[in-house]
């Protein structure tokens, strides 16, 4: 399978990168960022016609590969690899659930290329979209392939959404949401820092608030010693597979009446909620808040009803793990 043609750029600094972007924007040329490539390259191979004119590799920018600790925060560069995160002792001490989530992703090979920034920005997936050209030609185009409707939704569904329902699948995101991480964005002129919970959108195509030419430079995670997190992932095989569900549940020991819940694998947007719970029945309080928001469709090996049922099951596992592990490190 050949990739479509593009010009490859490998800037050495962010300055070079943004100068390049300005130049390309001036010429009205299309471009994409290239990080680990584990998500982008297969998608480009499958549909060479959608190849941008330029790929801007982030691999040469050393600043994006660094992890800085500032007091109670860690700032992880966008191109830090998933295996570096999984194996980092420093991260493991403070954010064990993050390392665990990284370690459960795909395969050792994918983890050594894939990056945290790439994971957060991973394209949403859908059986109508993640296909080679022949399969795409066998059915009508969907929103994400340039069509006019979403085939996942029956026309009879009430309130047919004008949005693409490809599901979010980034493994790290639930844990990062519960950790109340923020992301640093830079478009070369302005830097902004926003909560990860404000980063995503409800559209499987747009996916997030990044503006054209804007780069996710790093992820900042506050270290709060009293946070406890449990993470569970549902998938068919223990290697290769994207999460059918990825669920992180956390709370602060000094705020035991609130539970933070984040879920990926169902909706176009990873879901994130802070829920007031009663100590007697945390599970049902969370279910009551979370389940109405979840819309699993026929996007996955597991049927929607099963995935819906499994949300409760994983929730119960996470809550039980947290309840039995209150005083420990949070490692599961």
């Amino acid at each position: 399978m050949l990739l479509g043609n593009f010009v490859l750029h490998r800037p050495r600094t962010s300055g070079e990168l943004f100068a390049l972007i300005a130049e390309l924007e001036g010429k009205n040329e299309s471009f994409s960022f290239l990080s680990g490539g584990t998500d982008l390259i297969p998608n480009l191979k499958r549909v060479p016609g959608q190849t941008p004119g330029h790929l801007l590799s982030l691999g040469g920018i050393s600043r994006l590969k660094r992890t800085f600790w500032f007091g109670n925060e860690v700032d992880i560069g966008a191109t830090v690899s998933l295996s570096e995160i999984a194996e980092s002792l420093q991260l493991g001490e403070r954010f064990p659930a993050l390392c665990q989530a990284a370690e459960l992703i795909a395969s050792p090979q994918i983890r050594s290329s894939a990056t945290i920034g790439g994971n957060i920005n991973a394209d949403n997936r859908c059986p109508y979209y993640n296909q080679a050209p022949l399969n795409r030609a066998s059915h009508e185009a969907c929103f994400k392939t340039g069509g006019e409707h979403c085939p996942l939704l029956k026309i009879t569904d009430s309130g047919v959404s004008p949005l693409c329902h490809a599901r979010a699948i980034a493994d790290l995101v639930p844990v990062l949401l519960v950790l109340e991480a923020t992301v640093k964005l830079n478009d070369g002129r302005t830097r902004r820092r926003i909560n990860l919970s404000d980063y995503f959108s409800d559209d499987g195509i747009e996916r997030n608030v990044l503006k054209p030419g804007e780069l996710l430079e790093s992820v900042v995670i506050p270290f709060e010693p009293s946070v406890r997190i449990a993470y569970r992932k549902l998938r068919v095989r223990e290697a290769f597979d994207f999460p059918s569900l990825g669920l992180a549940v956390g709370y602060r020991m000094d705020e035991p009446d609130f539970i933070l819940v984040a879920l990926t694998g169902t909706n176009p947007r990873p879901l994130f909620l802070k829920i007031a719970v009663s100590a007697e029945d945390r599970l049902s309080s969370v279910q009551t808040e979370l389940l109405p928001l979840v819309k699993p469709l026929r996007q996955d090996f597991f049927p929607p009803a099963y995935r819906r049922e499994m949300i409760s099951c994983l929730l119960a596992e996470c809550i039980a793990a947290l309840e039995t592990d209150r005083t420990l490190s949070g490692r599961l």
Partner: protein, 989 residues
């Protein structure tokens, strides 16, 4: 697009190449550096076959742009071997300096087809670096994680895991770090559990002859061959399941610079198909398309990029028709059948029906009659090497066709017939082959198209399918719905079995007629069933065609019969193992449909498996959520009848010895990773008393090798093995004669033509022998001893091998013998009596232990105990590899495999979405050897490649019942179905 200069450090050497920016690292090292040890499995990062090390870390080279590697160091399999910066091991099997992981993979028999091996080697190099750093033995989970990113379809990962552990031990030992393990390592010791006294090679664990080539990246697969400036051929495929082709406009494509030819259905006159009775397929669709993915047109261009552009420039106007997508629908009358040439009013392809005994009376006699419906999705072989074909044309117009085929002979025939070329004008060669499992046994449209391009253009041709095209080419296991009824009497056993199957053949015939019969007749063992009937309908639908897949036709009905038997035993309060013990076929008996049963080792197998699995302590005694289940199986050792009717032997093997004293075997059998070349060498080495280093096997080359029906139906060891053995016995006679002449010793008694098989007692008739035919498994003991390079007569005097060879060459100039295998005549005289006839049958017992999570419905297979009667394990490493691989495929079918169609289009045409087990899902495997010693098999051997798969699947379903008390009748046994069944059970209680 301008090329860019890419400068990379690969294997500690600097390479500068001008390439397009779109070049991946995989393309860079394979196409631009010619390092073809790194293989391509999917090209989209979903299989891990293309793994290389980048700065010491396993990385997928198909996802990395060559221009984005920068200063990183790349290590490919070629750099692992012989690099001074790595550990070396002196290996007795090779003069090459192997890395410890390479050594271990070879020695543990962890290499079958070898296509994933380079990736496993690099996973291993990285893994051993970690082991050295941690200074302690890795646990089982660490090993699984190290290999989890690369799929292997042959080995079930079991021997790969053993090799990783063995390599870790050896590395730690050499660093003086024999640290304690952080887990319980699996047993590594490879001991033969059978008597092999007096044998030189037979019964001993022998790595494949090709293992060192495969582990070092030297083995060339079809796509690795570099022909001179081949045209790249690409196929345009139908996006519609059913349509008339109104027009095809190829002008745009032909006018593109670099396009040399464009072909359509109009360029081919004849149709083809593997069975002479269903030649219903055109190389390129003529007038109609019948499935999504059917080849419609093809382009030949100077490079792949131009070929892709040309495909986009072809305009096909389709008139879409209502497709027939469901098998049930295919049985209904239609005005628009998929194959109007058959002049039928439905889409029925083949209907077969047989009745033996009196099933109605049998059901009346039964204590209990159990009956149920079952469904099965279609499955993919999911071999790791995509189909590939290359054609070389010389100045005389003679062709050499290199193809990833299991049966060079069928391809040779089909090309000759369809393209009307004399068979002597072209030659078919199978290079190393990356897995088949039945999926490379048909002649394929793409192979015929490639040859046509060579004829039309006079150019060399290269055609390699993308992974999704492999899924559309399919020929996999038939989607099936069946209903089965079983009558059981506590004392009389199985009183009757009747079944009705509907199998979904897809758009064309392939092996489907055989599949239809096998669905029924393979139920005639391993139990005595006097009253038996079945009816099987194979229908055409507008989906990719189905054909032969490991366990051909026997797997799905076996699931039904073994589940029904488990249900009956439960209701009658019988132990499923104890009851089965009383039902097995007797040695030297006949089945109701007149199969000739010879050796049967299944009762011993069941006893061994019960003991090893602690069946009695576990069955119905495990806590809720844990379960144990049993199932048995039965399979052919090759078909006794050829698919093209003729009187030729089923296998012929030629042997030569020339002045150098080395032995060369020529066989048409295809080594597809199962190790048939090694088996042939063992035959020759054993009979001639030679080390395997003196024996070379040339196989699967239609010019050099006598014909052979190839590698399918588990026929090679039995048939080609016997032929090789006989060729060697004849050679031995020539040499013994020469030795006796040199030593002036009288010729010893020749026992080889004394028949060792009592055909009458065995229930068959003597085959029509040529005068000199030796029969199967003849005795070659002649009182002469050949060992360590000398031939010694009974009186203790001896003479050197080379001297004898040269004496034998006197007045002859060449030493040449051949051996054949001819199946005895057997079987009934009723219609369809030939189906399933085999000179010998294998038997299997499978006991699975599982854990079911009642909250998620997930099944985890924890341990599988397998007792497979293969007669005699000629090579325990190869036998175990076949069994472990069968268990891998069986668990996959039980738990997760299945093609998903949407409006006829394959939805999971990728390794990410078509789920084959990763290393993490493989259980512990315990193997037993209930060897029955098959009189007619070479050195007592019979089938091992396929039969073990079928009982894996029902053993898991039966264990599910033991674990949580629910039964499922629709495969795969996914967690959602388990949960639904548990919920229903709760409701009922």
């Amino acid at each position: 697009m301008q090329p860019i200069l890419v400068s990379l450090n690969v294997n500690d050497r600097r390479y500068d190449r001008a390439v397009l920016p779109a070049t991946t690292l995989l393309e860079f090292i394979r196409d631009h550096l010619g390092l073809t040890g790194t293989k391509c499995g999917c090209d989209t990062g979903e299989c891990g076959i293309c793994t290389v090390l980048v700065d010491g870390k396993p990385t997928l080279s198909c996802l990395l742009l060559a221009g984005n590697v920068g200063e990183s160091k790349v290590l490919t399999v070629e750099g692992v071997l012989g690099s001074s910066s790595h550990d070396r091991v002196d290996n007795a099997r090779s003069i090459l300096p192997l890395h410890p992981i390479q050594e271990a993979l070879v020695e543990q028999g962890a290499i079958q087809c070898g296509y994933c091996t380079p990736a496993m080697v690099l996973n291993g190099v990285a893994f051993l670096e970690k082991v050295k750093k941690q200074g302690s033995l890795p646990g089982p989970d660490q090993i699984k994680r190290a290999i989890s990113g690369t799929i292997c379809r042959c080995t079930g990962y079991t021997k790969i895991e053993k090799a990783f552990l063995a390599a870790a031990k050896s590395v730690l030992k050499r660093s003086g770090l024999d640290g304690p393990s952080d887990g319980t390592p699996p047993e590594v010791a490879m001991e033969s559990r059978q008597s092999i006294e007096g044998f030189l090679h037979i019964g001993k664990p022998i790595p494949l002859l090709s293992a060192v080539d495969k582990v070092s990246g030297k083995a060339k697969y079809t796509a690795d061959l570099k022909l001179t400036e081949p045209l790249i051929v690409k196929l345009l495929r139908s996006p519609h399941p059913s349509a008339r082709i109104v027009s095809i406009d190829t002008k745009g494509a032909k006018n593109l610079s670099g396009v040399k030819a464009v072909l359509t259905g109009a360029d081919f006159e004849r149709s083809f198909g593997v069975l002479p009775i269903s030649r219903d397929e055109a190389p390129l669709a003529k007038n109609v398309v019948r499935y999504v993915g059917e080849p419609v047109a093809a382009v030949g261009a100077i490079d792949e990029r131009t070929a892709n552009q040309a495909l986009l420039a072809i305009v096909v106007v389709y008139d879409r028709q209502e497709p027939c997508l469901k098998a049930e629908q295919a049985l209904e009358p239609t005005d628009n059948p998929i194959h109007p040439e058959l002049k039928k009013t439905t889409n029925l392809h083949k209907s077969v029906e047989q009745t033996f005994g009196d099933p109605d009376r049998g059901f009346v006699e039964a204590d209990l009659v159990v009956e149920h419906d079952f469904t099965f999705p279609s499955l993919s072989h999911a071999f790791t090497e995509p189909h590939a074909v290359q054609v070389e044309i010389d100045g005389r117009g003679d062709l050499t066709v290199y193809s990833s085929t299991q049966v060079p002979h069928y391809l040779h025939r089909s090309i000759a017939e369809v393209l009307a070329i004399p068979m002597d004008r072209f030659r078919v060669i199978k290079p190393h082959l990356g897995g088949g499992f039945g999926g490379k046994s048909d002649p394929f449209a793409h192979e015929i198209v490639a040859v046509k391009f060579a004829l039309v253009t006079g150019r060399n041709i290269r055609l390699v399918l993308d992974r999704d095209e492999v899924f559309y080419t399919h020929h996999g296991r038939h989607g099936t719905s069946l209903s089965m009824k079983l009558g059981v009497h506590k004392d009389k056993g199985i009183t009757a079995l009747s079944a009705r199957m509907l199998i979904d053949g897809g758009a064309y015939g392939s092996f489907g007629v055989v599949t239809s019969y096998y669905n029924g007749v393979l139920l005639q063992g391993p139990y005595k069933i006097a009253n038996f009937s079945f009816h099987c309908d194979r229908v055409y639908t507008n989906k990719p065609m189905c054909g032969a897949m490991r366990g051909h036709g026997g797997v799905n009905p076996r699931f039904a019969s073994e589940v029904l038997l488990d249900m009956a035993c439960h209701d009658l309060k019988l132990d499923p193992c104890a009851f089965r013990l009383g039902q097995f076929l007797e040695p030297n008996s006949r089945t109701a449909n007149e199969f000739r049963i010879t050796s049967v080792g299944i009762a011993e197998g069941l006893n061994q498996a019960m003991a090893r699995s602690a069946w009695k302590e576990k069955h119905r005694k495990l806590p809720f959520g844990k379960g144990i289940g049993v199932a048995c199986g039965f399979f052919i050792s090759g078909s006794a009848l050829p698919i093209h009717w003729n009187e030729m032997p089923q296998s012929t093997v030629r042997m030569t010895i020339d002045y150098d004293g080395g032995v060369t075997l020529y066989s048409g059998a295809s080594d597809i990773g199962q190790g048939s070349d090694t088996m042939l060498a063992q035959m020759a080495g054993e009979v001639l008393g030679l080390p395997l280093s003196m024996i070379r096997v040339i196989s699967a080359d239609t010019r050099l090798c006598p014909i052979d029906y190839g590698s399918y139906s588990s026929r090679v060891t039995f048939m080609a093995g016997n032929a090789a053995r006989n060729a060697a016995i004849r050679m031995r006679k020539l040499l013994v004669k020469a030795a006796c002449a040199l030593l002036e010793h009288p010729l010893p008694e020749d026992r080889s033509s004394v028949e060792t098989v009592d055909y009458f007692r065995q229930g068959g008739r003597r085959p029509k022998f040529e005068e000199s035919y030796l029969g199967p498994n003849p005795d070659y003991r002649d009182g002469v001893r050949i060992s360590e390079g000398r031939i010694q007569t009974g009186d203790g005097r001896s003479v050197g091998w080379l001297e004898v060879v040269r004496k034998a060459l006197d007045h002859k100039g060449s030493l040449e013998t051949s051996g054949v295998y001819i199946s005895p005549k057997m079987g009934g005289s009723f219609k369809g009596s030939g189906a399933g006839l085999s000179p010998s049958y294998s038997f299997t017992v499978m006991i699975s232990e599982i854990e079911v999570n009642p909250h998620t419905g997930r099944i985890r297979v924890e341990r599988v105990t397998c007792a497979h009667d293969c007669g005699f394990a000629l090579n325990p490493l190869a036998v175990e590899g076949q069994l472990e691989g069968s268990i891998h495929m069986g668990i996959g079918q039980a738990l997760m495999e299945g093609i998903a169609y949407k409006n006829g289009a394959t939805q999971n045409a990728s390794f990410l979405e078509y789920k084959i087990l990763s290393a993490h899902e493989m259980p512990e495997i315990i193997l037993c050897y209930p060897n029955s010693g098959e009189t007619e098999g070479p050195f007592g051997a019979k089938e091992v490649g396929e039969g073990a798969l079928a009982p894996v699947v029902p053993s898991i379903a039966n264990a599910l019942f033991d674990a949580v008390g629910v039964r499922l009748f629709d495969l795969p046994l996914t967690p959602d179905k388990v949960l639904a069944a548990l919920a229903q059970q709760k409701g009922e209680n």
